[in-house]
Symmetry: C2
DNA sequence: AAAACTATAGACAGAACGGTCTTGTTTTTT
DNA sequence: AAAAAACAAGACCGTTCTGTCTATAGTTTT
């Protein structure tokens, strides 16, 4: 259990992970440590004490800021999602051209994400996979995250005058999830390009 | 924590889950109980005692058959994979017509799987999501499982005389994973059809 | 300067964890 | 009928878990 992994992920100087910003106060230190450990070793498998050791904070401090481990998990997921979306949609907003370009750029950005040495798959997919039944807070956070993406995709599909906006968004979302899982399992970022090729194919057909 | 969920999944009288076959000996009872609990509540979150209670067996019996919890997890994954593949490829072998039909039928079968009330996503995807770093046995089992599918897909792509057999197989695999995750998260089996439509689109393009 | 806040350090509790072991019963094999 | 294997029931061990509590110290606010 060495853990001297390089986890600062520049990603062109705009690392997506909020673990990239060196935390100052104890709360952020806890969040950062928890985020890393949860993603690396799982939520249940990561103990409070391990988080505290890594964060270099006291136990009372953790329980001052979060009333339980569950709440910490929820907070970490929420923060991780927000930071990720900020990075992702920020990158997307730089893309020039019509909506089609923007949709396809999704997969280029995904590839950058996959190539990050600190990529362990989507935290939300992983969280739902681990809890599934039971933990509603986790599912809700995941739903919200996915909804953000879906809303954005629908807007693009509308701009493209796609015949079925919802179905187009769903289709790209399937490619999105598929690329994440495939890249995570095979540790191969190029699955983003495979997904992109299918997206191109699909959008071409939409044009009729 | 009620858990009086209907878990016998006929699926046209040929339920995929080996939990569907009422187990006789203690070993199978343990495997069946463990499988259900692992999928529902996660691997780490499921304790040995919980498995024993559900299985109605004694602790010594479990440790007579499996030398550790890790080994039990590995055994469950292996059995689950084998049974699933038996069901899946069995269904596929019934499909008439050219290879293209068989590839598209994959998504029809997936939809049946998704519609099963006992569907919690792919056990392998979930397992990798939970362990990721560390547990090599889990990753190996997942790799093997995926390899089975990939090999089958390549054979179909070859029969179809696809220009790039490997890339075709990878593409369908992305749709496969994407459909599973999307259906699991949204609890909506129709994502299989969304994936199927994209597969059709992609295979049509392959023909030139 | 006083009060309020934020933090550290670590003992502690109670439960749950994985795993071992013993004792005795049932089932199967020979 | 005898021997061997599989099983039940559950006490038990050492560890780890989440979460609480006390005591102390630095920092910010009023």
């Amino acid at each position: 259990m060495e853990d001297n992994v390089q986890e600062f992920c520049p990603l062109d100087g705009s690392g997506w992970s909020f673990a990239a910003i060196p935390p100052k106060n104890a709360r952020d230190k806890i969040m950062s440590a928890a985020s890393h450990l949860f993603c690396n070793h799982g939520f249940a498998a990561t103990g409070i004490d391990t988080i505290l050791t890594r964060a270099g904070t006291a136990k009372a401090t953790l329980y001052h800021h979060f009333k339980s481990k569950e709440e910490l998990i929820a907070a970490v997921l929420e923060a991780e999602g927000e930071t990720w979306r900020g990075w992702f949609f920020g990158r997307l907003s730089e893309v020039k051209g019509p909506a089609r370009n923007r949709i396809l750029a999704v997969f280029d950005i995904l590839e950058d994400w996959f190539a990050d040495p600190g990529f362990y798959g989507c935290p939300f997919i992983n969280a739902v996979a681990e809890f599934d039944t039971g933990n509603d807070a986790v599912r809700k956070a995941a739903d919200l995250h996915k909804q953000h993406l879906l809303t954005w995709l629908k807007a693009q599909a509308m701009e493209m005058k796609a015949p079925d906006v919802t179905e187009t968004a769903r289709s790209i979302a399937v490619l999105f999830d598929g690329a994440i899982v495939a890249a995570q399992h095979a540790r191969d970022p190029s699955f983003a390009r495979t997904a992109k090729a299918m997206a191109e194919c699909y959008l071409d057909q939409q044009r009729g």
